[in-house]
């Protein structure tokens, strides 16, 4: 007999949730996914599951028992706990509005329209399209790909921090001072919040003209003002279109943090730039960009060898140019794995220069190069430089232009590869 989880009792709303249903919004199907994706990912990682494996999203509490064989469970990323057949575990409300109980192997429910999560409005997905009840039994999948972690994974949901937003896209539909009012006001999470939206009680967000428009596309994180004075921050099960213009949109990195706040919790907003939002999204994905430690330098050189010598045929003697001891080295890590490196060198002429920007081939196109450049720029600025220079390979000139670098002079050859000098002012 394979192992199963039996629901002994439920006090609240317990749903099977996963990463949602990508690619169905044009059918009016909400994107779905966990209310707090960070906690779902932490619970899965602790168990060696893929981060988006289906697990239980628990608002309130419940008691679960193991049947058949022992099961390995993690609550919100806590160190995995073995539950023997016949034993049960009680889950009580935690600090966040919902908790995630994952089991090694994942919850095995059928995939419906590209996801295993429960979409209550359409009564589909999860266990028969509904919330769990006493007596339900959940089969356990075989999705685990790694060994469980003994120490678990901790998540900081920054319960006091301002929620970061990007202004728009419908700023012009609101009164001129609406954004300022939103950013200086304090809101309180309403108990009427659910997976469709987090409702916030606070000052009304006055619409200019106030009339409903046609149907507008909607996304998770969009903040709608209602005529009733509540603001609704759209959640994972939001309607794909709506009639209310959107004043600001919560950035991806803070959507889970907001959804985690309990009724009665206070919420303030802070506006950020698109670049800051993207950096925060990278950090959420487990990406860290920082100065390399001396112990990490050999790994950086190995990655450079992989990218420049093996990948591009640069002679090893040119790649290792003897200047490394004079440089500041940076690393980009994803969930602890080295995926990129770069160095900042101060030239004999006293200029700050970005060099040896290398991203592992399998990790390209995810903004890692941009994050490394951002780190170099910050370091150069911190050291008093007003400009950062580099020699860009011809194939990546457009990449640097996108980061604000301007080319100067003709193409020239370095290590047999056409390059162009580029620079950007640091402001």
């Amino acid at each position: 007999m394979s192992s199963r989880l039996a629901v002994v009792s439920v006090a609240g709303l317990v749903l099977v949730q996963d990463a949602g249903r990508p690619g169905r919004m044009h059918q009016g199907i909400p994107p779905g996914g966990a209310l707090v994706p960070e906690l779902l990912a932490a619970a899965n990682r602790a168990l060696g599951n893929p981060p988006d494996a289906a697990a239980l999203e628990i608002a309130g509490g419940c008691r679960l028992a193991a049947e058949g064989e022992p099961v390995l469970l993690s609550l919100d990323g806590a160190p995995p706990r073995r539950l023997a057949p016949g034993d049960s575990q009680e889950i009580r409300p935690g600090a966040a509005r919902v908790r995630y109980l994952a089991q090694r192997g994942g919850v095995d429910v059928p995939e419906v329209l590209g996801g295993r999560g429960t979409l209550l409005v359409a009564a589909l997905g999860g266990l028969d399209g509904r919330a769990l009840r006493r007596g339900d039994r959940l089969a356990i999948g075989d999705l685990a790909t790694r060994e469980p972690m003994t120490e678990g994974v901790s998540v900081d949901l920054a319960p006091e921090a301002a929620i970061r937003v990007l202004p728009g896209p419908d700023l012009e539909r609101f009164e001129a001072d609406a954004l300022e009012r939103l950013l200086t006001a304090e809101f309180v999470v309403s108990p009427a919040s659910d997976r469709v939206g987090t409702r916030l009680v606070g000052p009304p967000l006055a619409l200019r003209g106030a009339e409903r428009g046609g149907s507008l596309p909607m996304v998770r994180g969009a903040i709608q003002g209602t005529t009733g004075g509540e603001a609704i921050v759209l959640g994972p099960d939001h309607p794909t279109t709506g009639g209310y213009p959107v004043l600001v949109t919560v950035i991806r990195a803070d959507q889970g943090r907001l959804a985690a706040r309990r009724p009665g919790a206070r919420v303030r907003f802070r506006a950020v730039s698109l670049e800051q939002a993207r950096a925060a999204a990278g950090a959420l994905a487990g990406r860290v960009v920082r100065r390399a430690t001396p112990e990490e330098l050999p790994s950086c050189l190995a990655l450079r060898h992989e990218v420049f010598v093996q990948g591009q045929g640069v002679p090893p003697a040119l790649e290792i140019d003897g200047l490394d001891p004079t440089c500041s080295h940076f690393v980009a890590l994803e969930v602890g794995e080295l995926v990129g490196t770069a160095r900042l060198r101060i030239t004999d002429g006293g200029q700050a220069k970005a060099e040896r920007v290398a991203v592992r081939a399998t990790a390209r196109g995810r903004g890692i190069g941009a994050a490394l450049m951002h780190a170099l720029e910050e370091e150069a600025q911190r050291r008093g430089f007003s400009e950062l220079r580099l020699h860009a390979q011809a194939s990546v000139i457009a990449f640097y232009e996108g980061l604000g670098y301007a080319g100067e002079g003709p193409l020239f050859h370095e290590a047999g590869i056409p390059h162009r000098a580029m620079r950007r002012a640091l402001t």
Binding site: I29, V121, G129, P217, G242, R278, A281, R366
Partner: protein
Amino acid sequence: MSAGVLADPTPFGDAAWRWPRPPESDAATLLAALRAHPRVRDVVVTEAHVCVTFDPARPPLGLGERLAEAAREGGGDRALREVVIRVRYDGPDLEEVAARAGLPPEEVVARHAAASYRVALVGFLPGFAYLRGLDPRLELPRRASPRRRVAAGALAIAGPYAGVYPLDSPGGWHWIGSALGFRALSPEQGSALRLGDRVRFERVA
């Protein structure tokens, strides 16, 4: 649409972009072109906008060009699906619609069933298609007070649209009939009606 010129998208948070819909563009063509991009997660095309969502750590490149090209293509050569929905005109709001339109109920039914419709938008609920093509005499504002429950399969009209409710739900449209043997949303196929589909209603006595 002048060749290749398209405004920059407006960021919609850090995980989506929104463009004004290019004039004269074909919604289904835009949808297909944008969905084909490997880094695009979702696409929503409404009558006035195009919206694309993605992983903010991996934004898709070159979407503006793709959109401009799809807008130039139009939809002229695309094979259209036609969906025929059998309907019994037995909705609780039929009499009121007739009174407000100044037409006998029989005439409301005749005009509704005679028209040819096109899916202009899918949204509001999973599988809810906004159908353009309603006889202008039947255009009415939404109900002053929404019904607390409109049944799945209800045929309803509001403003310039007709639609079939995919699920039991609250609703502000005028409920004029019932679709027979038609599931607007199914777990196997998702939405039965897709952007650009042609739709006819066949009256069943």
